[in-house]
Amino acid sequence: MFETFKTKAEAAGNTTVQKVATKDEAITFIVDYLKQQEIKDTAGSWAVWAESPMLAGVDTKALEEKVPGLKIGVTPELAKGAKIGITQMDYGIAKTGTIAQDSTKADQRMASTLPWIHIAILATNRIVADLSAFMDRMHPSQSNYIALITGPSKTADIERVLAIGVHGPEHLVIVCVDELGGAN
């Protein structure tokens, strides 16, 4: 399932799918990625990390100190000045390479829409086969705002030429974590 998911997700363009074994490895990967993207504590170069179940038990203060410019928690101003937004997703859909989330809370939508790069964390065991399988697991009765994301923001509205990053992210980085927990 993971392989299909990875292939389909990356086929959407400007998308990379990374797989790691543990939560610690995921955090290490993300920290390295933020450094590599030159995240720093000035508007325009921040990274915002929206409330995520995987941060439970993590010393977020220490994490922020490790990468100056990384902000745990989202405000509209921070999201507006963020180069990178990090959110944890609820499901992956293998057939279409889609990630999905209950985005009832606005911080999730801000962090995944405004920045140039969206890092999406996903438990590998939360990848389901197709849209129907996803809809069996997430119902509008549980969520005011179900968001499905596939690849970056794009348009072909001028002369049908593809352009990436029109209102949302230019890049999507999906980090699949094998031992993230959470039942499927």
Binding site: P76, R109, Y145, P152, T155, I158, V166
Partner: protein, 708 residues
């Protein structure tokens, strides 16, 4: 008004930007790729069932939706008219002190010209979908339902952005997109209200589904504290599970994508960016949709999921674009929606652009018979206002067999000064538009009925009645002779019922269904006068009449006693290629010895392929008879003849022909074949006029040469 339409056609034909863009896209191929591994017929049956079922219960679904959405914190307003929608939103803006609005794409608000109305009340509504923003800056309407600014070049967009930003912008598309990102980003934060449409509204859960690629709908529904969704009643579906087939088909049909980048399912009031709850208003708009649902013919148009695939494949749309072929809603489906949602008058003009080729019907993911509905508009127009005098006189004349036949015999003599090598290359001045790109064939000196008498028939137990149709009878008797001789070679005795006359397709195509029924009525008895196994037709248009249209035309004209006879004929009718291919398989016809392999390309006439479902048989028959097939690009795209279309809209018809001729030339084949004399008049005339070496031949002519 008619003059204006013709002028706008000429203007559009000069600007081929949109046509070029659609050609480079190669939609049919990319669409096919997106649908790989999916049973399209099954999928579209599912969608037609869901949406067709919903259209029968719009009232109940609307009530159920309202209840479910309100239980989740939304406010639902039922608006019957465009005015009610506009008043509701304007009042809401006044009550809440809204001055600025950001909008994501909504055809429903385009339909009612909402932005203009808001501007009158001093409220600024900015479109955020890139294409919509561009046409807003250009003060235009969408030329395409999915890609509204497709008709504009990057240079034109650059000029619009330069004017908007006050800074000279480049013509680099990537850079232009970033300008839009920068300019629009601020507007989301400043706006007091977001307005969106919806692709689907789910009654059982009160959910709105919004698909975008740019992500602007996510921003429109997240940042402003008030969200107003304007939703046409036809977006309602009963169940949450009904979303799946629709969002599976929509992106594939619309843009050849597997799925759109973003799909948002909004149910009630989600959280605002300051932690408060969203004020969500859902306006369920009727604007004649329930009237449409009550019309047994037009109800199916409510199944439309607005993918615009009917535009992408339409040979006329591809030439003239949506500002000519459409109003707010464009193309074939646009013509139908315009008739109901906007004004019938406007649609009455636009409908004349449909050539009836049926390409759209083939790809429609909601299984809507778009050409049938366009013809129905035509029929209602014709029965309400009557046909133009000249057209009506001409059609009545065709129905009077004796007069019509005498007139054509006279014409065959009168035309003599213009005929050269079997073609009329130049017409008298006032008709010159008709032979500008295409020579016309002359009326044959001897009609087929006279030719037939000279072909001695074998006595056989297998008998076939030949329905020649007007084109074979008067223009191409040689094709009729070839048909008869090939069948004779297989030992079939052919009879030619002398009382036959026009099949009625020209009347049907003009919306004069009653006159078409008279044509059918004239023919049924003569065709059944002798006991025959088959009724043979070598013209795809006549085949459509005999195989499909006669029974229900007669029924609608209340000539019920003739319906069983027409059904009997329909069951016996075969297209020539259909029967011959079978005879070859049965070894009743075999190729001559020592044949030199020659090459052909095959043009699928619209009536043969999409009305009668015949496309493989002629290819197989010709290949079995020793011809090598060289397929052309877009082999089943209309040649532009379309019966009288070529006379009514010669400028469009000729451009369609030019594309067809190029595709034929590119194959390098020796012959182009088709089983439709109309297509052969158009293509053969075009090849002659352009001095091509390729010859247009009816399949019967090619088979007669090679079969023994």
């Amino acid at each position: 008004m008619k003059q204006e339409l013709t002028q706008s056609i000429h203007k559009a034909l000069k600007n081929q930007n949109l046509a070029g863009i659609l050609d480079r896209w190669n939609y049919p191929a990319t669409r096919a790729k997106a649908y790989e591994g999916i049973d399209f017929e099954e999928l579209r049956s599912k969608i037609a069932e869901i949406k067709g079922g919903a259209s029968e219960h719009l009232e109940e679904l609307a009530a159920q939706f309202a209840k479910a959405a309100e239980a989740r914190g939304a406010k639902v307003f039922r608006a019957n008219s465009p005015e009610a929608v506009k008043d509701y939103i304007t009042n809401l803006c006044k009550e809440r002190g809204v001055k600025k609005i950001v909008k994501s794409k909504s055809m429903a608000t385009e339909e009612i010209h909402l932005n203009k109305h808001l501007a009158k009340h001093g409220i600024q509504a900015d479109e955020t979908d890139l294409g919509e923003w561009i046409i807003q800056l250009a003060h235009q309407t969408p030329s395409h339902m999915v890609m509204p600014a497709l008709h504009l070049t990057k240079e034109e967009v650059s000029d619009l952005f330069t004017k908007e930003t006050g800074t000279r912008q480049s013509t680099d598309i990537q850079a232009l997109v970033k300008v839009a990102r920068r300019e629009l980003r601020e507007k989301y934060f400043a706006a007091d209200m977001g307005i969106s449409g919806a692709n689907i509204a789910v009654a059982e859960t009160g959910t709105l589904v919004i698909c975008t690629n740019e992500g602007n709908a996510r921003l429109v529904t997240t940042f402003p504290k008030i969200h107003v969704a304007v939703v046409g009643l036809e977006k309602l579906v009963p169940r949450y599970a009904d979303i799946e087939p629709i969002i599976t088909a929509l992106p594939k049909s619309a843009t050849s994508q597997i799925i759109t980048s973003y799909v948002s399912m909004i149910t009630g009031a989600a959280q605002n960016i300051d932690g408060s709850r969203k004020e969500l208003h859902i306006v369920l708009m009727n604007n004649k949709r329930t009237d449409m649902a009550a019309d047994p013919k037009f109800r199916q148009a409510l199944q439309c999921i607005r993918c615009a695939s009917c535009l992408n494949v339409c040979p006329v749309y591809r030439l003239v674009g949506g500002h000519v072929f459409g109003d707010i809603y464009t193309g074939g489906i646009g013509t139908i929606l315009t008739a109901w949602f906007n004004e019938m008058k406007k649609s009455e003009e636009i409908q004349s652009l449909c050539i009836g080729c049926g390409k759209c019907k083939e790809v429609c993911p909601a299984r809507i018979d778009i050409p049938e509905l366009v013809f129905e508009i035509r029929r209602r127009m014709a029965s309400k206002e009557g046909l133009p005098f000249i057209q009506k006189t001409a059609l009545a004349l065709i129905n009077n067999r004796k007069v019509f036949h005498q007139m054509l015999r006279a014409a065959s003599i009168a035309q003599k000064p213009f005929v050269k090598e079997g073609f009329i290359r130049h017409m008298p001045m006032f008709l010159s538009g008709l032979s500008e790109y295409r020579s016309l064939p002359p009326i044959a000196p001897e009609p087929f009925r006279d030719v037939f008498k000279k072909i001695k028939q074998p006595k056989s137990t297998t008998k076939a009645a030949f329905f020649s149709g007007c084109a074979i009878e008067f223009v191409f008797p040689r094709i009729g002779a070839a048909v008869v001789r090939v069948l004779n070679k297989a030992g079939i005795e052919v009879v030619f019922p002398e009382d036959q006359s026009c099949c009625g397709i020209p009347h049907w195509g003009s919306g004069a269904f009653d006159m078409a029924a008279l044509a059918a009525a004239h023919n049924v008895k003569p065709l059944l006068a002798q006991d025959v196994q088959y009724v043979i037709v070598a013209c795809a248009s006549c085949a459509t009449a005999l195989k499909k249209e006669w029974p229900h035309l007669l029924k609608e004209a209340k000539m019920d006693d003739l319906v069983p006879l027409a059904e009997k004929i329909a069951a016996k009718t075969v297209m020539f290629s259909e029967l011959v291919n079978k005879l070859i398989e049965e070894k009743k016809l075999t190729p001559k010895d020592g044949l030199k392999l020659r090459t052909f390309t095959y043009h699928d006439s619209c009536h043969a392929k999409r009305h009668c479902g015949i496309s493989q048989q002629p290819r197989e028959a010709l290949q079995s008879a020793g011809y090598e097939l060289k397929e052309m690009f877009e082999c089943d795209t209309c040649c532009g003849m379309g019966g009288s279309y070529t006379v009514k809209r010669p400028e469009i018809s000729m451009l369609m022909l030019k594309r067809k001729l190029k595709n034929i030339e590119d194959t390098g084949a020796e012959f182009v074949s088709a089983e439709c004399p109309g297509c052969l008049i158009q293509i053969g005339g075009g090849l002659d006029k352009s001095g091509s070496k390729i010859k247009a031949k009816h399949i019967a002519e090619l088979l007669e040469e090679n079969l023994k």
